[in-house]
């Protein structure tokens, strides 16, 4: 079974079912919890795109999430209306990623060092933002607030009409639409030649270069797209939390998104989304109890997944289901026929 099979196709039946569920959910439950789950899902999707399909692991993806959040907050305080801040929340992380990516990929560094550098970048941002207490640190009217962050900025409003706030359930719908739209965008990108080349790069970077493709350019491009999506998630997070603190850059946040992707399933788009939603729910529920520390459970989960199901739950289930179907189909026809090998995904 070719590795390209997982790229292009949208199962429209599932998609519309999911969309319907998302859109009808507010009729049944309070939207506060589900909103953040959708935001985390978008964040996970952004990493899953880059990691699963191009083979690029950004250890500090929280940097772009955080930059999106801070860019929104700072711009919102200064501008008052939310359209430009939203745009900036997407563009600022994308710009950082483009610059950082070009620096890394055109320098031919290895995967491990890429992971290290991206980790250090989010660390730098975390330390910097944590230290910006006091009036001296401000961008325009926005005080950066150091460890306490930036509270009380204007939240999303209808574009062009600052008096019509989208706070509450409308924000939930914004998040749902954003997630669905970004999912389709990812599918579209992957179905294009661009996506095919990306998978080629993941499979064998050298051979791709020898085919004449500028590998560094492709990597930088997907990194930028991924960062833009993470920034969007960060902006929505700022609107949900109504406050932006340096914890958005923290190692904890960076670790969490990696855990969601890897548990949900590396190499699929739906895996990270499901991973984020399920683990996010677990986190919200766990947060309320004090018997077991959150970090302990999260850590244990990561260890177990890495040791036992290295590619995550969704692909394992998919493989099991596919294998089961093929087995029953071919068993009668030709008992001695060798089944095709599954795609090897390089991490």
């Amino acid at each position: 079974m070719s590795a390209w099979r997982s790229t292009g196709r949208v199962h429209w039946g599932w998609f519309f079912t999911a969309a319907a569920v998302l859109l009808l959910l507010p009729l049944v439950v309070d939207t506060h919890g589900p909103t953040v789950l959708l935001i985390w899902a978008l964040f996970a999707l952004s990493l899953g795109l880059m990691w699963g399909y191009a083979g690029l692991l950004s250890f500090g993806h929280s940097a772009y999430f955080g930059l999106g959040a801070y860019a929104y907050a700072i711009a919102a305080v200064n501008v008052g209306e939310s359209t430009l801040p939203l745009l900036l929340a997407v563009l600022v992380p994308a710009l950082l990623a483009a610059v950082l990516g070009a620096m890394m990929f055109y320098g031919r560094i290895s995967d491990v060092y890429m992971s290290v550098i991206t980790l250090v970048v989010t660390l730098i941002l975390f330390k910097f933002m944590s230290a910006t207490a006091g009036d001296a640190y401000r961008i325009g009217d926005a005080r950066l607030g150091g460890f306490n962050g930036i509270p009380g900025f204007p939240t999303l409003n209808l574009p062009g009409s600052p008096e019509i706030s989208l706070f509450g359930t409308p924000t939930y719908y914004v998040c749902a639409v954003a997630l669905l739209a970004c999912y389709l965008l990812c599918r579209w990108v992957l179905a294009r030649s661009f996506g095919r080349v990306l998978v080629g790069i993941r499979e064998n970077e050298e051979r791709c270069a020898l085919m004449g493709y500028d590998v560094a350019a492709y990597k930088t491009a997907i990194f930028t797209l991924s960062a833009a999506m993470a920034g969007l998630a960060g902006c929505l997070f700022a609107n949900w939390a109504e406050i932006v603190t340096p914890s958005v850059f923290s190692l904890r946040q960076a670790a969490e998104v990696i855990i969601w992707v890897i548990v949900g399933g590396l190499g699929t788009l739906v895996g990270p989304v499901i991973g984020a939603i399920v683990l996010g729910m677990v986190k919200l529920l766990l947060g309320e109890q004090t018997t077991f520390d959150n970090a302990l459970i999260l850590g244990l989960l990561l260890i177990v997944v890495v040791l036992a199901i290295p590619r995550g739950v969704v692909p394992a289930l998919q493989r099991a289901w596919r294998w089961q179907r093929q087995r029953s189909r071919h068993a009668a026809a030709n008992p001695r026929r060798r089944l095709g090998g599954a795609a090897e995904m390089r991490r």
Partner: protein
């Protein structure tokens, strides 16, 4: 006169080791040349100077491909000039099928739709039909070599660099390969690096012998392979 490939006083160093020692080499249009020499003679290092696969900053001297200096160009830029490169170890996308591997190469030079047509054409030409739908990772070594050559050819390069194309092939496959190389030589210059003497004799082209990073002797295959110095250099290696 600018040949298709020309190097002038080319040197490649790794730390204290001089892998390519002052090599001046020319290759004419549509010429077929074999580079031979025992292990460590520098032919693969020389090859890497032509393909942009060496580490930057280690090369001194000039490497010209159709007059253009490529010493500091990265591999993909060199390929875009119209050069096809097949590496020593067969290098394919293991998770993709043969057809998909070839399409990916064809896509760059022929566009989306044109790529599909060129792919089918090449599969027919190289008789890869039976394995077209298999993933590259499952193929036997000889088939992998063939597919990789296919990946190179589909882009219609005018200079083709093959590093040990016959390795791991059966006698029949080698014969087909020789025929194939002669055919592509009608439209492209070809450099073949190998140390299988029988294969080189079958190609019966001009041969350049490397020894300790420099060119020992150049000439027609039969004459060179019977040269006493060449035999001496190969002492202990398999010759025919």
């Amino acid at each position: 006169m600018t040949g298709v490939v020309e190097t002038r006083d080319l040197m490649l160093r790794f730390g204290g080791v001089v892998a390519v020692n002052n090599v001046s080499f020319t290759l004419g249009e549509r010429e077929l040349r074999c580079l031979i020499g025992p292990n460590g003679a520098g032919k693969s290092s020389f090859f890497k100077c032509l393909t942009g696969q060496h580490l930057p900053g280690r090369v001194s001297g000039r490497v010209l491909i159709r007059g253009q200096d490529v010493a500091d160009l990265r591999a993909h830029r060199i390929v875009r000039l119209g050069v096809g490169i097949k590496t020593q170890v067969p290098s394919l996308m293991n998770g993709l099928t043969v057809e998909e591997n070839i399409w990916l190469a064809a896509r760059r030079t022929h566009g989306f739709a044109g790529g599909a047509a060129a792919t089918q054409e090449l599969i027919a030409e190289l008789e890869l039909g039976p394995i077209a739908r298999q993933t590259a990772g499952e193929l036997a070594h000889g088939w992998r070599q063939m597919v990789e050559i296919g990946v190179v050819l589909v882009q219609r390069p005018w200079l083709i660099l093959l590093d040990e194309p016959a390795a791991g092939m059966t006698g029949d496959e080698v014969e087909r390969l020789v025929g194939l190389i002669r055919r592509i030589n009608q439209t492209a210059a070809v450099i073949v690096v190998d140390h299988d003497m029988a294969f080189v004799r079958m190609l019966s082209s001009m041969v350049t012998v490397f020894h300790q990073g420099a060119i020992l002797v150049e000439g027609a295959a039969n004459r060179v392979l019977d040269d006493a110095r060449v035999r001496e250099v190969y002492l202990g290696n398999r010759t025919t």
